[in-house]
Symmetry: C2
Subunit: 505 residues, 2 copies
């Protein structure tokens, strides 16, 4: 959720720990406790680990009313949205519990010894994934549950067998402590702690005990912590989900067939949650002469200003919007005075052309909040030439007509660099489902291989270990011939594939 210009963020103001509980502590204390808990936690058998995750989901459900009330006080996201987000967070925990029970996430591969392998005999090699160790999670302002203390990063790291230390977002410190307190009853000591404040966050990233970091937030904040993680004497993986423009492309055929519906849904997606989603569609490509300006103005004018997550968000929104609107290449479609309440933001819609987007890269900065940029293109060629100028994103969406647009859509999907391609829909509302990919090349994330949503999110917190010629009794359970944990084992014996071999060196 980056902004056009540097804006004060809660992390850049002097930090005050507004709430203290016995479980909040310094980064070094929390990291040490996580390190001490790591090997026992890694050894928790899969069914028990799955139970812990289900217990956490149950705890969230049991306390949903109270949790949502505290969250509403701090975030103003609205009770319905917050209750829905708690259910989503429960669904995430339960999905990872299912995955832990199924055991496929251990990625077990077994190559039995093959004395006849070519070019050399091959030993028995068995490989599985093991937990990396303590993980630091930086939670997000805009998802106080789903990307916070018990959110997807924490759930996937616990599923992997890693203790977690969460750096709470200062937009919801009381909720963070309350969530951690409720979770503590379900978890072994040291498996989950919460720390507060910018210095504690930096302390986690540089603490020798911390083996990986998950982050959801701004490009500037994420980049600073990414650089810090890489500058350690022993660099550690840093998985940052940063910003995204989430372009939506409407083909001429789709615009002709259902332009009004598309722009109505578009504005609903832009203003959902008051535009405070990393998947908010920030750009809409429409054919020139679309004739939909009045309809867009009508719909967005009916959306009222609302309180944003914090004054640092509304300030950044207003600053970025003002700069974009003042750009000579931009024309406002709908732009009103901002409300007197400094934490509120009024929706806005701006427009420009594909030609100007190519000419002015400064138009392609994320403006976090209820606004978007409508970009008109003259011809499909004009559209296709503009797309390479876009930074890679978490999502890209195409509205097209399946039959008429087949060739154009192929070229569009080739030109749009994104982690998720949505067809005739909207990017907001990331389904919690095993195949989901929530990621993308820089600047969408710091790590193009990984996702923070979906089953594969667990892979961020694990590393492979191969065991060579280890006897059955000394092997970890998932690698034994007897397979006591009943995990999927990919066995490559010489009858199913060519034997590769071991050379002299």
């Amino acid at each position: 959720m980056p902004s056009l210009s540097p804006a004060p963020s809660p992390d850049s103001t002097p930090t005050t720990r507004r709430t203290t509980t016995p479980r909040t502590t310094t980064a070094a204390e929390a990291a040490t406790r996580a390190r001490q808990a790591a090997s026992a936690f890694a050894a928790v058998p899969l069914p028990a680990r799955a139970s812990l995750l289900r217990d956490l989901s149950h705890t969230l459900g049991e306390n949903a009313v109270h949790l949502a009330a505290v969250a509403e006080e701090e975030t103003r996201l609205g009770a319905d949205r917050l209750r829905g987000e708690i259910r989503r967070t429960q669904a995430q925990l339960e999905m990872f519990a299912d995955d832990v029970e199924a055991g496929a996430f251990l990625d077990v591969m077994i190559d039995p010894a093959d004395p006849d392998a070519h070019p050399a005999p091959r030993p028995d090699v068995r490989r599985m994934l093991v937990p990396l160790g303590p993980v630091a999670v930086f939670s997000a302002s805009n998802f106080p549950f789903a990307f916070s203390v018990l959110g997807g990063d924490t759930a996937s790291a616990l599923a992997a067998g890693c203790p977690v230390v969460v750096k709470a977002h200062e937009g919801h410190p009381r909720l963070s402590d309350l969530t951690a307190e409720l979770a503590a009853d379900a978890l072994p000591p040291g498996a989950l702690s919460v720390v507060h404040g910018r210095e504690a966050g930096r302390g986690l990233v540089t603490d020798p005990a911390v083996r990986a970091v998950g982050f959801t937030g701004s490009t500037s904040g994420g980049r600073a912590l990414f650089d810090l993680a890489n500058s350690r004497p022993d660099p550690i993986p840093f998985y940052g989900e940063l910003g995204s423009l989430n372009p939506v492309v409407v083909t001429p055929a789709a615009c002709a067939a259902r332009g009004e519906t598309i722009v109505r849904e578009y504005i609903a997606s832009v203003t959902l949650g008051h535009g405070q989603f990393c998947t908010k569609p920030g750009l809409l490509f429409l054919p020139a002469g679309h004739g939909l300006d009045d309809e867009m103005r009508r719909v967005i004018a009916a959306t009222h200003p609302a309180t944003m997550l914090g004054s640092w968000i509304s300030t950044a929104y207003r600053t970025t919007l003002t700069e974009l609107a003042a750009h000579p290449a931009v024309r406002p479609l709908h732009l009103t005075d901002q409300p007197e309440d400094p934490r509120a933001g009024a929706p806005a819609l701006l427009t420009t052309t594909a030609e100007d987007v190519r000419a002015f890269p400064e138009l392609l900065e994320e403006c976090f909040g209820p606004t978007s940029l409508v970009i008109t293109y003259t011809t499909p060629q004009d559209l296709l030439e503009a797309l390479p100028a876009l930074p890679a994103g978490l999502t890209a969406t195409i509205h097209g007509q399946e039959q008429e647009d087949e060739e154009l859509v192929r070229r569009l999907t080739g030109a749009l660099q994104a982690g998720r391609l949505v067809w005739n829909g909207w990017p907001t509302g990331v389904a919690v489902t095993p195949a989901m990919h929530h990621g993308g090349p820089w600047p969408a994330t710091t790590s193009p291989l990984h996702t923070s949503v979906g089953s594969r999110a667990v892979a961020r917190w694990m590393r492979p270990v191969a065991y060579q010629n280890m006897p059955e009794t000394l092997l970890p359970a998932p690698l034994r011939r007897a397979n006591p944990w009943r995990v999927p084992q990919e066995v490559n014996d010489s009858s199913t594939r060519r034997g590769a071999g071991r050379p002299a060196g």
Copy 2:
């Protein structure tokens, strides 16, 4: 392959391109050609991609005599070893060809739409891995085939569908050009190029077209390029295989049962390929009072000095060995004058105690070449207390007695941080087999999640993309219901697992 002290490396001397072929070029030219080739190469269907890899293996086999002769002139690794390494390199190419044909590496997951999912209806989500784009590969001095122009990094990147630009090692520039020239006939234009020299290497790491880097070499060189990759405006993944001490632990029971055999095999492993393997056992833990000093002296004295890969290697070896041998905590078991030929190295064996290893971290630096440090421990507790002082490695080896040592071995496997655990064997000789893991936490590699050998090596060069509600005709072939490429598809429908859902935001 790091050394105790900074030593001149070929990359730190003024670079001279000793050989020029039409295919050697500047980094920018090679990267541009790779970028231009990328989308066509990514679109090569799997069977054709597998054929390219098999053609490359065939080319190596056809030209083995000539290639080995050129390699021998440049590296002095010996004709037998080099012919064996060519067969290993062929086996790698063929293993990836098998994997490409099987299609499991695409990691296809399909979650069909589920209107009844809880807590919200879920769209059709289909995910697969796609190639990252052009890859830069830094080849190693000590494997002029298996970790060079057509080595594992290149083979896995081509398997992933990524064009490759290789930064040739200056230890074998003619072989690198010759290999690339032979390979060119089997590959589409732009799919493989070779560049030479330190500046070209740095140019590749910072070139906007390059999307990931594979590296095998020294800790200092790897760290510098890792930092460069991360300091880009758009950081890219950097997979560096750096140094490793490869400790070998012999339990008291194993020492009593077969101490002489163990130390004979140990010295054979230490001096294999004249100690120029990243998996050379650099440390041997023996119980105090082992009584094997004479046997070790006898065996190593029978191993003659030999020409090393280059004078930069022999110089670093001599410098590091001299420093280690002069350490007050170290006693030489076998140490002779070095030969007059400055490119040669004489084998050596040093010894110290577990207590001193804890006290003097400078003893735990890799000395690349035919030497190793024998470490005596007084009790199993003394041994277990020393192990946490070791840096993580590519391998760790245990020689034990299955029955008697069960409890001790469990504690040892918990204490040894390594990518591969070898039982009653030796770490040199990395089997080319799907389950192999050749990696490990820092400082073994820059990326603990990944391997440079084995089937999973391909994953370094791919990123996920999810398609949401995309019609059959517009989906990539591996994601279609009709599954025309017959790839494994993991389908999660609501009958096989709980439906997770889509919340409001």
